[in-house]
Symmetry: C2
Subunit: 80 residues, 2 copies
Amino acid sequence: WQILEHDGIMQLQRSFTFRDFAQALSFTNRVGELAESQGHHPALTTEWGKTTVTWWTHKIRGLHRNDFIMAARTDEVAHS
Amino acid sequence: WQILEHDGIMQLQRSFTFRDFAQALSFTNRVGELAESQGHHPALTTEWGKTTVTWWTHKIRGLHRNDFIMAARTDEVAHS
């Protein structure tokens, strides 16, 4: 995971690679389920063979401990 | 649709707004189905209440007539 600053907002970002578009979209949906279950939502950029996940906390316009937890859970989704 | 230049690549981009994350992700999946059916894939950024669709042609690192057709078809998906 990389910590980025985008428009003055600190964010956690990681890209995951896949063999095609369908696999990337499947991962996006699985991270989406995680997000819904936790009530905390990332930005998910789905492309051919790649999904980029970006976590931050809108309310504080930056990173909260929960974002790091969600990043770790995203990795678990990727490995499951 | 806006025409943007990103890393020297011309792209067509439009954001679609929704009432929550689930609706945005549903739209992402519908555009994903369109992409798979046509063998041409955009970048789809899914957030809470918003999906941003970006079309360009990787091979020519820019815009082809087909990208404009896909943009119009994306609008049809949004209105269906």
